[in-house]
């Protein structure tokens, strides 16, 4: 009986991840519209976009290989798998031990690896450009994100997400300098990883400054829908990952219905707030030139490294 219970929570969480991610993206877009004085299309617009793309036919370049057609499924699949291990509604996920936080980041890296390959598959200049830039950004964000994670896992004495979240909620609330550094670094990295201003602009199309959009320029129909949906899940998961590492209070420790309901309630509030913070950053800044990005990413990396060093020296 006990294990059935756990399986139910696990399935519930995966469904929530898949279903709610577009709404979160919609919420961020809506706030962005408001802060920029535009009328928004509402929280549900991403669902409409995805539904539209699923209905459309796929137009495929003549020289596309199997990598191009396989990548959308991998992008979506890897996002869902990571979604099953991040503690979002409960700290009792029975799949969580199968992948710790380093594995989670690496699974995302695999998806990106294939997405960059798909960008090079057609042999257009835009695709190659996107792939090259994406890998450049990734090669600087990945060390930063791992360093930010190292800080929390050193503090939590584990790389397992559940244990990190548990150790934070069980201990007393103290402001540790290392965690603050790590949180700032993580925020910068999430902006870079999910391709938001000032690193990349998710709403650009056919601009010479684009990164992520250039890679997926040749996609259409259900392939594009899967990639878009996968990217939304990825965005959602990076934010919930940050919440699990830095603001885990409220996530259900016991797995009864009441606790989970409370945990969902807290999660919605936290997501709304974090979305707001991201929008303020995005509206307040202009997109950076590509080679100014290195400064931004080195800053994130240095912050994270400072966090780890602060941990080793001060704690």
């Amino acid at each position: 009986m006990k294990s059935l219970h756990l399986i139910f929570i696990e399935i519930l969480q995966v469904i929530i991840v898949i279903a709610v991610a577009p709404a979160f993206a919609g919420w961020v877009d809506m706030l962005k519209c408001w802060t920029q004085g535009r009328t928004s299309a509402g929280v549900l617009q991403p669902y409409r976009n995805i539904a539209k793309l699923f209905v459309k036919d796929v137009v495929l370049a003549g020289n596309a290989s199997w990598i191009f057609r396989f990548t959308p499924y991998l992008v979506f699949g890897s996002a869902v798998v990571v979604g099953s291990v991040v503690p979002i509604i409960s700290m009792n996920l029975f799949l969580a031990p199968s992948a710790d936080i380093i594995v989670g980041i690496a699974i995302f890296a695999s998806a990106r690896f294939f997405m960059a390959l798909a960008g090079m598959d057609i042999g257009t200049a835009f695709g190659g450009m996107g792939a090259s830039r994406e890998m450049m950004v990734a090669s600087l964000t990945e060390p930063a994100i791992l360093m930010a994670i190292f800080t929390v896992s050193l503090a939590g004495r584990s790389t397992s997400l559940l244990h990190i979240a548990r150790s934070f909620t069980s201990g007393a609330l103290v402001l540790r300098p290392s965690i603050v550094f790590a949180a700032i670094a993580f925020l910068l990295v999430v902006i870079a990883e999910t391709g938001r201003i000032p690193v990349d602009n998710p709403s650009t199309h056919l601009e010479l400054t684009m990164i992520h959009e250039a890679m997926i320029l040749e996609y259409s129909g259900r392939h594009l829908a899967l990639i878009e949906w996968g990217s939304m899940i990825r965005f959602f998961l990076f934010v919930t990952l940050g919440i699990a590492c830095f603001l885990p209070w409220g996530i259900a420790v016991k797995d009864n219905v009441g606790d989970i309901a409370i945990s969902v309630f807290f999660m919605v509030i936290k997501l709304c707030v974090v979305g707001g913070v991201l929008v303020i950053i995005e509206t307040g800044l202009a997109k950076m030139r590509l080679f100014r990005l290195t400064e931004f990413l080195w800053a994130a990396f240095l912050m994270a490294t400072l966090g780890v060093i602060a941990f080793f020296i001060l704690e």
Partner: protein, 676 residues
Amino acid sequence: MISPIELSTFSVVAFIIPILFVIVIGDNRRLLIRMSFSVSALASLVSVAAGILAVAGGGIEQVVLPIGLPTLPFHLRLDELSGFFIFVVGLLSFFVSIYSVGYVGGLGAGKPVKRLIVFYNIFIAAMFMVCLADDALFFLVAWEVMAAASYFLVMFEDGRSENRRAAYIYMVMAHIGAVLILLSFGVMAGFTTGFEGYTFDAMREARFPLKWATVAFLLSFFGFAAKAGVIPFHVWLPEAHPVAPSNVSALMSGVMLKTAIYGIIRITFDIIKVFPWWWGTMVLVLGLISAVMGVLYALMQHDLKKLLAYHSVENIGIILIGIGLSMIFTSFHLPTMAALALIAGLYHTMNHAMFKGLLFMGAGAVLHATHERNMDEMGGLIHHMPWTSAFFLVGCISISALPPFNGFVSEWLTFQAFLLSPSMPIPLMKLLIPLGAALLALTGALAAACFVKVFGVIFLGNWRGHDNHAVTEAGWSMRAGMSLTSLACLCLGILPAVVIGWMDVISERLLKAKLVTTSGVYGWMWLTPVDPERASYSGPLVLIGIVAVCAVTYLLLHVKPGSISKVPVWDCGFKKLTAKMQYNAVSFSMPFRRIFGFLFDIKEQIRLAPQRGHLAFPVNSHYYLRVRDRFWGWLYRPVIDIVVLLSRKTGMLQHGRIHVYLIYSFVTIIVLLALL
């Protein structure tokens, strides 16, 4: 029941058979290649069995051979550590020998195939002997045989001057290393007692004063580092690997470099057994430098085999990070942590052998098909070589440390070793440990970028070369060799708990500590070093999860038959899309050159030929790029200059006049008589 050491000695002897084939059936080239490489494969397989048994059985077996110098017989020993390395060498030799049937068979008619077969077998046998040797004499004999055989293999196509130069550089570096190792043995033998002071057993029992232990350690470490290609001794790798035949490059990069790792572990952990903390720190720092610089140099390359050679530098660096951490933890009396780091290093040793062997084999297949080493002349090979491209992709994913393949497991273990380290009592270590973890993360991410470039430029997009001749898929034996290696990469990636459970005895023997790896009924699924509370990874579950979600999504989307219309690539209405407009290796790495360019000696020129005097409308443009290793200018050029200068000064003594030479001998005799 035949014992593992007899089995492995037997396999070493069996490598003579292919050499006999060369003498007996040397004229029938086709038959010779098939027969000799089949026997090499079988002999390697025997060694694999011996290695597995030696590690699984535990215990030490020793044999004194009746051959050797008078009163100085050769000693052999097979313990867990040598068993592990024999397993790794044997496994890759097995795969590469299968591959070689097709690869060598496809070489041009004028190529010296007989010479290749002879030295190929001597080379593999010598690697086994290095692992088996239990005295300084036999070790050095085997070591030199290995170096000489590989020298002749690098010299395979000796018609070109650049190949002779590469082989010469390799020989010089190999000998600098060998001299250092010899001196180190000399130092250690000085403290042994008894008549057989040259055996490792005597050295194990000797007690070295710290000063002399340090001298011995430094000499042997730098000696082995010259062979392993640790920066700054890496210069021979990018010269020698590209010119050797690809099956030999696979072995040299995959396993020959590992014999140096074996030497480092054997001498440090088994013979000297003293660990001042700065030894490990030095190894760790050199490992970190090699890892980061190796991958950055690789990113700048557009010659496929040179690029892979630089990646060997990177991976040797990652292995040394594990070994260095293990030494540091040992010196601070943290045996469990030391065991974790050592196992991480050894696991990466095995992984690197597999995926680098696979990548070099794939590079050989590509070379065979296109007759081209420059990636910027290739493209779109996935349509012509579907199998090779799939195997090569496995290698790319593995080396980029992405789950669920094997490179990720060892990198994950190394991260765990960094993360689980408690606070060190020395301030320098407090900074170095986190910085090391960051550099390792940087290395992994840069390797992924590099292999997106490699795979994307070679196999994806459109063909960039001039002549569009027919490119065909590799033959069955090459595909068989590559598919088995790919399978090994996958198995090592998803079943690390089983493999680590098998090789745990090595750390138990050397460090008296084991890793807790298995728990519960489904123990084989979970990799839990140290403690499941702290970290766990299940390769099978991650793989199954991703495959299941992809399959379900695919099925759901194909309930209704959706239509796919294949159209030409959208060219923005420009109608003049050419293959030259694609991103290539040079343009892909441009952002990296911009960021990390200060580490290299880069010369970049763009020359535009103006049309009717207007630069804005050039008729054509010429782009020139040269990226050089700064170490040549910093380190090697001055040394070479000094050596040349000294030889020139010494050369002044020679002028070919006999009466002057007679005066030399006369003066020498007078001086000696006066002195003695």
